[in-house]
């Protein structure tokens, strides 16, 4: 008769709530990201422009300061939808793009390269938790430079300009929030998908930037040669611009219909998510 001497006891203490477990992945990933001084420096840099815009809004409503500083030209800058759409969202999403470029492709590839996925998924975590954890990292970082400062800026302007201005521009916060999230989700999912398929960090970053740039170039060629909007279907930037303009309710420089742009971005995001989930699995296929 075999005698099994069990010298250990399984953990029987309290467990965290299942819904919150993805935060563990996010927490460690964020810690790794902020271990880079370059990234910290870039994060600070990306907040300089919103601070400058805060200064502009503040000065615009401070006649005394404008006079003392002899900055009367600032008074000519209208604080309106275009200010938030072109003056804020456009440059800030550029910063967010670089953040996604730096962080996104490096999130999944090391786990795949080191065969860590079976370890992750052998915990009480499923594929969705894993992806959500990684997505939260990108969403947190990019939110901090897009819609969060955007809404603060809007709040400041509303406070200084009064309730009437707020009522007249009610679309701006909505457009800032939704527009930023569309940008964040679509590009984050794509960067994670690239990271999952290109196991190697430097290649993944190059592939992410290269794919967006190369397809944009193809789209621009088609637009130039055929003179139609359908080349824009390959240009993520064109699609984003059209959707943002639609959200802000302003005339767009892009000819592509808003509905088509919405659908194209949805398909792009869904395709990225499909690619990503295909690679996230708890086993290794030995070929």
């Amino acid at each position: 008769m075999a005698v099994f001497d069990r010298g250990y006891r399984g953990y029987d203490g309290p467990l965290t709530q299942p819904w919150s477990r993805f935060l563990v992945i996010a927490r460690y990933a964020v810690r790794d990201v902020f271990a880079s001084k370059v990234f910290i420096g870039f994060s600070v840099l990306s907040l300089i422009w919103p601070l400058a815009l805060v200064g502009i809004i503040y000065l615009k409503y401070n006649v005394e300061a404008l006079t003392i500083l002899d900055l009367s030209t600032l008074d000519l800058i209208p604080i309106d939808t275009t200010f938030f759409r072109l003056g804020f969202l456009r440059p800030q999403t550029a910063f967010a793009f670089v953040m996604i470029l730096i962080v996104g492709p490096a999130l999944v590839s090391p786990d795949l390269r080191n065969n860590a996925l079976p370890l992750y998924l052998s915990r009480p975590l499923d594929k969705s938790d894993y992806v959500l954890g990684k997505l939260v990292v990108l969403a947190t970082l990019t939110s901090a430079v897009t819609w969060v400062p955007g809404l603060l800026l809007f709040a400041l302007q509303s406070y200084l300009a009064g309730g009437r201005w707020l009522l007249d521009h009610w679309r701006i916060p909505l457009a800032l929030f939704v527009g930023s999230w569309i940008f964040i989700l679509v590009l984050s999912l794509f960067s994670l998908a690239v990271s999952a398929w290109v196991k190697w960090k430097p290649w993944a970053r190059i592939a992410f930037l290269g794919a967006i740039f190369v397809f944009s170039a193809i789209g621009q060629i088609f637009k130039l040669i055929y003179g139609t909007w359908w080349g824009s279907l390959l240009v993520v930037d064109d699609l984003m611009v059209r959707v943002w303009d639609h959200l802000f309710g302003i005339e767009s420089s892009q000819q592509i219909p808003a509905l088509v742009a919405w659908i194209a971005l949805a398909i792009f995001g869904a395709f990225s998510a499909w690619l990503l989930f295909r690679r996230i699995r708890a086993f290794e296929v030995v070929s």
Binding site: V38, L101, I102, P202, R205, F213, I218, F222, I225, Y226
Partner: protein
């Protein structure tokens, strides 16, 4: 061969002769080593799964040309209505897509990883343990990168250029290629592509050696090359595209905001880029000479 025989051969070196004693010395040895490096690097690069991205990149312009051949303009007119128009279209594709996107990103991928890739794969020590001068290693690896990108992208250019002709028939194609300047244009595009591989290759060879994360400097170089047309003439000299532009057979307008300056003569471009590549290799050799194997946790 039995172990005993193997042992006997190994032991024979005790008598004095080592297999390496019969090897050439000096330049002869270095040539043999560069050849071996080229073959080994090309074998790894051409047959590896990682090369699929490069192949895909090289195939994209062909795909674009196919679309242009098949899909007509709104209204039903073909894109390649005349040979002149076809050449203009090709020039647009070449300058906006092949040169600035395909060749550029191909060179980023291939050259930044010549050394960085081996560090990440933890296989650089096999080279560092070989009796090969580090300078020879740099030259061998750089030439293998040039060979690989040239094979891929010159091939792409040739195929794409020849795809201009099918709508006009074989005899017209032969006439144009042999007597109408088509071959000359093709040669110019091939030459520019080779020089682009040489120039961008040198840039990204050193970027891969100096930076652990080459994407940011590569992005900066991309930005610099893209705003080249806005730069004052003095600064234009510090971009690769400046030396290539003058040799492109069908020039393209750079828009109303471009700062116009005369491109350098072809001979200056060729010599300039070769000298630049040599200088970069000297710098890369100095860097590689001081490298020690300490694989990080990448």
């Amino acid at each position: 061969m039995s172990t005993a025989e193997a042992s006997a051969v190994t032991t024979s070196r005790k008598g004095g002769l080592h297999p390496a004693d019969s090897l050439p010395h000096g330049a002869g040895l270095w040539r043999a080593q560069v050849r071996a490096l080229l073959q080994l690097e090309l074998r790894k690069a051409l047959l590896g799964r990682r090369s699929l991205i490069a192949y895909g990149l090289a195939g994209l312009p062909v795909f674009v040309m196919l679309v242009l051949m098949v899909a007509k303009r709104p209204g039903g007119a073909p894109v390649f209505e005349s040979l002149d128009e076809a050449r203009t279209v090709f020039s647009i594709i070449y300058q906006t897509f092949i040169l600035r996107a395909v060749v550029f990103f191909g060179c980023v991928g291939v050259f930044t990883n010549l050394f960085r890739g081996e560090i990440l794969d933890r296989s650089l020590h096999y080279y560092f343990l070989s009796p090969v001068r580090r300078e020879v290693l740099v030259v061998g690896k750089y030439l293998s990168g040039v060979a690989l990108t040239s094979i891929l992208f010159v091939g792409t250019v040739v195929v794409c250029f020849l795809m201009l002709y099918p709508p006009f028939g074989l005899s017209r194609a032969v006439d144009d290629l042999l007597g109408g300047g088509g071959l000359g244009q093709l040669g110019a595009y091939v030459g520019v592509t080779l020089l682009a591989c040489l120039g961008y290759g040198a840039v990204f060879l050193i970027v891969g050696l100096l930076f652990k994360n080459p994407i940011l400097p590569a992005g900066a170089v991309l930005g610099w090359e893209l705003i080249h047309f806005l730069l004052p003439p003095f600064l234009k000299r510090f971009s690769v595209i400046h030396y290539l532009k003058g040799m492109i057979p069908v020039p393209m307008s750079e828009g109303p905001f471009a700062v116009v300056s005369d491109p350098p003569p072809a001979i200056v471009s060729v010599i300039g880029l070769i000298v630049f590549a040599i200088l970069v290799m000297v710098a890369a050799s100095l860097r590689v000479r001081s490298m020690e194997i300490r694989y990080g946790d990448d």
